[in-house]
Symmetry: D2
Subunit: 345 residues, 4 copies
């Protein structure tokens, strides 16, 4: 059994980790920290966990995280970088669901997150936790920067095209849509049902933190200079993410050849589903599961290829992906504890 | 492995059976019938099942249901009663999610469902599939009438009170609220998002089919004549059911004694969660799980006791309960394949 | 033109007042106060008002409320009672959308709102602003306690029955459901879309502030002692309120006679729609309008009468009713500025 | 008073016409046809209209449409072209909310709508009813093809850019999102709340009827060949449309100059609101009103300009725009009956 600690379990990525790990056959939930909720049984805050999770929140001092095999950080940025050195030194694996260990470009991190990076040594060895593109490095990593939700869809959607060098890497557009849980569990008027329900809007259009993260990763796939316009939108739904990706073809490919690029790239991937050409994946077809689905389109057989990508932002977009990394790091079958059938309707 | 057939798998109770059975360790999905969709892979209609269910729909003639160990009917009323005799004669267990085998009072069935009951012999031996109240009979049953969604909440909510004889059985009120999936998957303008979203209404207030079913069962719990007013409402949500039950106390009990009635009645039940007195269970705390939760209130310490009951109408209210019955009938641990943690948020 | 001031216009009842008054032909919006937002154009906080409202928020000191003809308080409890004396002394009419002037029973106010009532002199002359039952007093009032949203539905729903003395006043049940806007516009995790959407729950079942207000008013309708169980629920929708009222008949009436009680009581009312017996009013049929609709049921022709009542909680349940009172107080046609057709779908 | 007939008033654009016209000071609702609902009072199908619309549906034969001043067609394609000739001959103005008179390119119409155009003579004189771009022609038109909902946002969003010749007209992308009411009021499983709620998807990505309509109109704005990729998506909300438009700048403009292009183009328009540069308009800020709002962005000050456009798809996107056309045709102030303040929250 893997002894597991969770720092900051009161948010949505935290409770989603708990939902997944509660039935993971190799996971032993050992500690979950929250300074504010010290002593409160987790199931009292989240009645959905009654009968599944007996743990109580404990303050960090009491939590004995160094006795864990792995610690997940489901915290705001800045927390993991402060605590990771001690844990890593104690031989504990660290998986950070926040951005502290995602961006190798420290200047970009500091620009977009408005704080000094205090742990650049560990950052250098940190591995970007996208298993489909980084599996070998994850296997031996001591510290994982778990990808952002939007970046996961953009990378897996653009990867086969960039790798094959068939699109103009300098002019990528990602028009992305997320359910409200992507904004986290916080007391913010802008996230009320009364403010977000039965409405739709874009946000952060002039600039968003996931742009530099995504460009850094996309740049590994091509020698051309990557140019990306990323436009996030808020959908009146709880979970789910839909990215509509646009790229300009620079080679003369048939639709079958395009489709084959994707099918080949992901043919052994348990959590990437390449749907038939021309499909319209729905976010709900991935609800509460770790599956990401995508489909290709080419309007009027022109030179624009569209990739539609869907996932559950809290699972493949966050906590599920983190557990997938854990499985790899501990030599388990990658799908262990992640075989949930999507909940539909 | 239990060989399983499903008749009518294109509706919501059908796809929910598939979601549950796809990861049930003892279930072998053998046949799923749909005359209209003969040959269509199930996962093509329900992309959420891609990678989980390989079966295709087949017309009833081809389905060889008599070779199954158990057949679930996820059909409109009238279908199970037509096919059950042949299956039962062949030694196949039958679990009907529709009402054909729920009501022992044939006249009531015929009045409310507008058709002649053609299978009254089998009806006599049919067992009402509410495990918490009927476990022993279910164990040896050949044919199960799986309870309606609303009746499940009303029976489990009123049972400890009626059994103990502490309320006026002649004046029960059940104000119940259901998500839209309770109405099934059918092309009906009244169920469109544009008609049901951001709105709330009652329906069937002057009379509903679940009233006679519930009264028949409640009457087994008491020697007093049962009187029940049942008022269903439609909630703009997909899944979930909330019943607010009102009963008049006829005995002088403390709140602790009231609470004890429920805790005692359900102390060994894996799928009934008696929450602390004064709790407000939310439907989402049971989403996609087989758990039913309830809590007691007594406003102003008066003589009205309120029982709040929540469940997922498609799981404990239908397909999950059916699988729970199957587990009992085949000697499995009752929770096999039903340990899903509710999906929250 | 009536010069109008609004205190506390940043919440939902405030912005709804602005929506209504912006097209009211006799209203001249003069001042709207918010200490926190001093100087901010209202339309910047509420872009829906761009082009309709030019006013900016101003701090109370600058607002010159004493120069208004009427001041609405769209504030938390406690604010109106502090400012009303000065305004009334200056000849300004006061309409309080909060509870300060609703309850004549000061002890009840202090118990449920947890503060001392500092304005009991004015309270004595304050008029409860439910036009259908209190029109004459409203006409000459200097200060109005505008009814709570739930109480409006309960009073108008029970009134014809209590007035006629045909039901057991001691055993009334009101099972009520409200959209989330009823909780106001505040940074509260419990009101997030992610917490309330696709779910349903009751709240405040053991006791709610609207119970004493409603009982005080219902008691005026009958000489029997009123007993009321009131159970509020939260519906995953923005606006709308649905109350399901239960009363026990003590007289032998036909359904026609029951229906006649309501049709007679409300035959001249522009904002109460008595629908045909057995109808199921939907909340959306009143969306964004000042109309309240109701319909009667009598399950199995038994001795329980059910009244289904719907309204828009922000209009007839609050700001619309307040404007209706204003129209009466200033001698205008009662429907002036309130003729909105409900928005459907 | 203008005598008004509506053909096909049972759908959402029909009931929205009724909502608007019921309070239009110059409108006299004279006839509304529905063969299927002949004799049914409109308010019985749409209780929101109780007290506002007394008319009953009548079969076309009885409706005496030739005695009207104007007839609106709120019908599927093909109906208006069959009835328009007789009406126009009788001197009745025709406003078609369906596509029969939108596309001058008959071949495109026949390709996308799968039927022969039987009224090409009248089509030639028909005017495309987008007042902001076509006001003079609308004024003297006998027959109006009212624009599609998506095309309205794309045209008003791209117009100032194309007119000024500052973007690459051959590479326009429109990523558009619509509430479910855009699909109409029809019994279709794909539109159920249970199928569309809490989910998001694209549809018609490989080709959609609104593409040729939009390209035909955009082509009038520029001498370059227009290339447009249009991607529609379905949002789990009732009303509202959000278009995210991407264009590549071909001239070196400052953001102020870009903003000025839009402010100049729309400075006298009552129903186009150019928001400050960098704003994020929400669909709800236009709910139930005829206002369209837009805002510009330029990520990383690069060469991509983004135009965010929102409207209520049933008002400015359909019925409101039709009434705006009617006002122009009959010499009324263009805003008559269209001054609704958006409903928020």
């Amino acid at each position: 059994m893997i002894k597991i600690g969770i720092v900051g379990g009161t948010g949505y990525t935290g409770v989603e980790l708990l939902r997944i790990l509660a039935t993971h056959p190799q996971a032993q939930l050992t500690a979950i920290t929250s300074r504010k909720e010290d002593g409160l049984p987790v199931a009292e805050m989240y009645p959905s966990l009654r009968g599944h999770v007996d743990l109580a929140f404990s303050s960090p001092e009491k939590a004995k995280l160094t006795e864990c095999d792995v610690v997940f950080f489901a915290t705001p940025h800045g927390v993991a970088m402060a605590q990771a050195p001690e844990l890593v030194a104690a031989g504990v694996k660290v998986i950070d669901l926040a951005p502290d260990f995602r961006l190798q470009d420290v200047a970009q991190f500091e620009k977009w997150y408005g704080m000094t990076h205090t742990c650049t040594d560990l950052l250098k060895e940190a591995v970007y936790g996208l298993p489909e593109l980084n599996r070998a490095a994850i296997k031996s990593a001591r510290i994982i920067g778990n990808p952002g939700c939007y970046p996961t869809t953009m990378q897996l959607g653009f990867y086969p095209l960039l790798k094959a060098g068939v699109v103009d890497a300098g002019n990528l557009i990602a028009d992305c849509k997320s359910g409200v849980s992507g904004a986290g569990r916080k007391a913010d008027i802008g996230l009320l049902l009364t403010e977000t329900s039965d409405s739709f809007k874009a946000y952060g259009v002039s600039g968003h933190r996931h742009t530099p993260e995504t460009i850094e990763q996309l740049q590994y796939m091509t020698s051309e200079k990557v140019g990306l316009v990323f436009t996030p939108h808020l959908v009146p739904m709880i979970r789910g993410m839909h990215s509509t990706l646009y790229a300009r073809l620079t080679k003369d490919l048939t639709n079958e050849e395009l489709q084959a690029l994707f099918e080949t790239a992901y043919k052994d991937e348990p959590f990437v589903d390449v749907m038939p050409f021309g499909s319209h994946p729905e976010t709900r077809s991935t609800r509460a599961s770790n599956m990401l689905r995508l489909a290709l389109h080419r309007p009027a057989n022109g030179n624009t290829v569209i990739v539609l990508v869907v996932q559950d932002n809290l699972v493949k977009g966050s906590s599920g992906q983190a557990v997938q990394c854990m499985n790899i790091m501990f030599g388990l079958d990658e799908t262990t504890g992640l075989k949930h059938v999507p909940v539909m309707p």
